[in-house]
Amino acid sequence: MSRQSVPKTETGLDRMDRLELRLQLDELYAEYAHCLDDGLIEQWPDFFAEDCSYLLIPRENYDEGLPLATIRCESKGYLKDRVAAVQDTSLYAPLMLRHLVCGLRVTEIAAGHVKAEANFAVLRTQVDEITKVFLAGRYVDTIVVEDGQLKFKEKLAIHDSLLIPNTLVLPV
């Protein structure tokens, strides 16, 4: 990960230049996608704060207030366990993902955190298969500064897709 440190955050994220904050967030989402798409999965937990949660949840459940997720990570340990499964234990056919993240919306700026949303589309490429749209949805995230960098404190990936094309091995 080659992200720059967040400048002068001692005074609070709400005092930061709005354009600068947006550039930093844009970089965060771009590096996050790069990590998932380009074989850097072991760095995935580094995008999260020490105390964090990650939920990939069907929109069907989210909209009805049903708590069941497709992937539920309640701590950084869960994220590391998911990485270990992808790397060592799960059986799956070779695949490549490509996250297209766009439409970043900053929805709340406070001294200690920022809330942001963005759309995602994920393309999946597999042997003997034409590249397909694998998943579509949006992120609803809470971001904080930790170790001088923006990190996800809560990341909610809500997938519109109801039917998942067989398996979802890599996180979104």
């Binding site: 340990g77 590391k80 234990t89 799960s90 398996t167």
Partner: protein, 414 residues
Amino acid sequence: MAEADTGQHAERRWPEAGVHRIPYWIYTDAEIYAREQARIFKGPSWNYVGLTAEVPEPGSFRRSFIGDIPVVLTRDSDGGLNVFINKCAHRGVQFCQKQRGATNEFICPYHQWTYDLTGKLIGVPFRRGLKRQGGMPASFELDDHHLQRLQVTERNGVVFASFADDLPPLEDYLGESMLGYFDRLFDGRALKVLGYQRQRIPSNWKLMFENIKDPYHASLLHVFLITFGLFRADNPSAVRLDETGRHSALISRKGEQKATSDTAEMGRFKADMKLNDAKLLTPVKEFPGDTTVVMQTIWPNIIFQQQTNTLATRHIVPRGPGAFDLHWTYFGYEDDDEEMTRIRLRQANLMGPAGYVSIDDSEVMEFSQDGISAFPDNEGILEMGGYDTDDVDHIVTESAIRGFYKYYREVMAL
């Protein structure tokens, strides 16, 4: 993916050997698929359609499927449960497009034919014409054009429906042994739906049943089950079938993460693997006895899952010979406290399209279909544990799959 067979095989014959040989054309042949829809799903079987917790109030409804046929489950104004085909009597429109909801009536969007919650036709616009012109013939009777309504039965919150009028009660259909496992999970307490997962698996629907009737693979394929002792050949285990062979249950109990003389043949056992956050697998004892896993497969379309504290129904919806949808409904009980609900939600990480265990199964089913498709006249081997279809107190057997095909052959006349 290979295309389905063209179906020009009127003389399909099961291998002489019997149910320990499985001809691959049953997974690929379009004519066999059509016969399955007619004889199995539209035949004398109780098909799972949903949970009463999903239709709690008069007016509640839920879309569902029997085989690949779309149906609607409703609760009518008298509190009764109804299942009817999601197809307008007029021109065949699939009128109910919403997954779940509440309504007083169903109105087909095309010409607004209107049905009540039991599926009765109650209104046809311009039935008497307009300005004395047009309209339905005098002989047209609403009573002749209700939605196709199915037989419905319910036990402890689980709803089944059938196209057949003369089926035995669900209790007899399940048989004593399977009813016992059913009642263990559905013990009469009100259920609470925790949410849904859905996936399209590019393999024949029967491979899903085979997978859940096959304890042999569980000790070999699934690192998570083997390593953490959740389901392993050296744990006390059993396979139970009903008298016909069509239903079965795999039963086991959680053991320890330790290497034994038996794990030597489990190539994917990882003695030193540790979870960074052990909360994921922290079990709570909630059912009587030592059993922690019951995977029950009920003919012809439902799997009931208890793996430690994660509970779900897995509803199989065939989509042609080469694909099926799997609809997972996770549930707990109304009297679960918050902590119990959290435990169920955590352990759900094992299951579903992203599950630590289920990913392996879903992928392997796709690999199977990919391997089989080009060879309809080849046969699979089902000889683990011998040739019979008996109950056994171990899991080094394929007897439940043989039982399934014994009954399948009868129903399909193959």
